[in-house]
Subunit: 417 residues, 2 copies
Amino acid sequence: MSILIKNALLDNKKKDIYIEGSRVSEIGSNISAEAEYRIDGSGMAAIPGLINGHAHAAMSLLRGYADDMALDEWLRNRIWPLEAKLTEKDVYWGSRLSCLEMIKTGTTCFNDMYWHFHGTARAALDSGLRAVISSVFLDTFDEKKAKEQIRESISLLKESKGYGSRITFAMGPHAIYTVSANSLQWIKEFADKNRLLIHLHLSETEKEVEDCMKMHKKRPVEYLDDLGFLGKNLVAGHAVWLNQKETFLLKKNNVKLIHNPSSNMKLCTGRVFPYSGLKKAGLTIGLGTDSSASNNSLDMFEEMKTAALLQKFSTDNPVIMPAKEALSMATLGSAMALGIDAGEIAENKLADILLIDLKNIQMLPRHNLISNLVYSANGSCVDTTICDGKLLMQGRKVDDEEKVIEGFMEHAEKLTG
Amino acid sequence: MSILIKNALLDNKKKDIYIEGSRVSEIGSNISAEAEYRIDGSGMAAIPGLINGHAHAAMSLLRGYADDMALDEWLRNRIWPLEAKLTEKDVYWGSRLSCLEMIKTGTTCFNDMYWHFHGTARAALDSGLRAVISSVFLDTFDEKKAKEQIRESISLLKESKGYGSRITFAMGPHAIYTVSANSLQWIKEFADKNRLLIHLHLSETEKEVEDCMKMHKKRPVEYLDDLGFLGKNLVAGHAVWLNQKETFLLKKNNVKLIHNPSSNMKLCTGRVFPYSGLKKAGLTIGLGTDSSASNNSLDMFEEMKTAALLQKFSTDNPVIMPAKEALSMATLGSAMALGIDAGEIAENKLADILLIDLKNIQMLPRHNLISNLVYSANGSCVDTTICDGKLLMQGRKVDDEEKVIEGFMEHAEKLTG
């Protein structure tokens, strides 16, 4: 497929963008190449597709099912019992709805952790999105379970090859309080050997740190460092309870972090992501929504605003995380965290591109495009979503929207009915 | 005009809502009355129009013009110099765009403070919204200015009668640090005598409290109490820097408060609105967005979420301000603060009503409508906006949208050009 976008605003200049296959082949003025799809980009801004660095797509099934509760109670009494009932088909349809929500709100790639890998992988494949998908590895310190999960991981890696280049399999150890040290070490070796990313919840709550101190006399990052677990292929979600030594260890090992401000606020993780220290240390930082059960939205535009506002408020510093840094976290930051060759619009980069309708009220006036994107817009300002060089949405229309909603509702209603 | 909404979801039941003139005349099943407009409400939820309790509508002109700055610098070096240039026509078109944004995001009434009263009043009138509008009273402790402002207030009150029942004139003393004690006392007497609301910025920053302590040896609320300024007609925006005694004085005098979480976070007012103490004291609390220069959105759905998340995070209590309380602040709370007979859908109440499209992805699944409204939805989920018994938006179409955008852009571009 080839797409020619004419006269879109790119970095404050009118440009044509020519896409061949899955990549941007040329950016310039007056490109006259023939293309299967020609898009009039006038009155539109072209920005990189947003990348959701930490998500659990299937959990749209549980959106609104349990809110305004403490994290532990929420997980143990509401979320986990319902999750135990989920089938791969449920996961497929839950993930399809989330993919649809992501397409409609400008996300072109997501980093997922959930059960029933194939459910999520098929959903991402069918929807046209790019995804890094891990199956949850959770052994609750039970050797038998660990063996099962190891076997499953080996199979999944093989099976995942069938999904093509848009879907990447990753290892997904849930957290240090649900996965044994032995399993973590196996995961690390397996991931390194097979060049896989590792997606982990890290230092989300004070309890996680306290329990780790009690059990191992070390803080979580120190514990992982001693296990040899830290490395450039580790993508850690949350990461709010960190001290200076841990920041140093994360940087030394080039660990990637994903900030999840809405979820942290809603579930009261008790501390704000230490952005300025982590940035100063030079860490790669992406942005994510966490799940629709803990956020409850996958709109990365809203997440950028929440991130910037939360930093300003909690540090009493209105100049921290300016709009361009929030946007950068949601694009290049997440891309670098996931090792995806996207997050910016440039020749030879993956063609994961949004067109933003500048006639939308929330984009007016035009004093500062990036301010408008971060502080005023939400996902409804996206007109066109292109992923991997394919048109997934144009004029806010997605081909199979009704079919996806129908399939989703059938499975969501059954769950609690 | 009469409108019959058939089969909309109202408080979890399918209902018909019959509107005659500006009020709801009947709610029931199988209402068969003849109506000029008949709306199929199936697949829609009917909720009260949201009420923005503290806004500066014209400031859409400055959206994105100055972000990521300290409040004092932001006001003195960026906002005030540009505001000095604004004409009544600018204010009209700035307010028209904001009214359009409000209609499209489900706000049916707003409480405004800005210069050029007639600009905002005409904009609200022409757009079809309900509004309480004050002209800014700001004398910078200069007697000559005070006299001018007093004269202007007396004229405006008379002139405002021409706008009809949807537009209410209020007094708008900017803040205790910009208005003299004499003027505040005149305003209070004038407002009491003429049954006007008083709209004030109160205890927004620590500096305001410190300066007041230095100058008057009292905290702001004590200072206002000693002036005899507190009363049931006072609507105070922000109100974050309050101690227990001030809370007691506010309650004793039945002062109404408006919470502005996004603006407080973005401008780093340094403290969170003390919601649980104020609620416990029994104060009436509404919700507002503040201006498009400090938020930068007028989407009250996003504001509800931000309010709930900020409370949870800052008090480390995930059960504080559950979704239904956030929704209540944005509807009945603001309505009670402004003395508007709306904020709920009931017979004989003003017909300020939204229809929410339940097929919207953000409203799925349907475990909990209120959770979805507060934590997942944004203004783009509103299908129909009715204010004062008139249809302002249906199927997301507003009659004069293009004309308003054109007029607005002309004036916004001129300002900084």
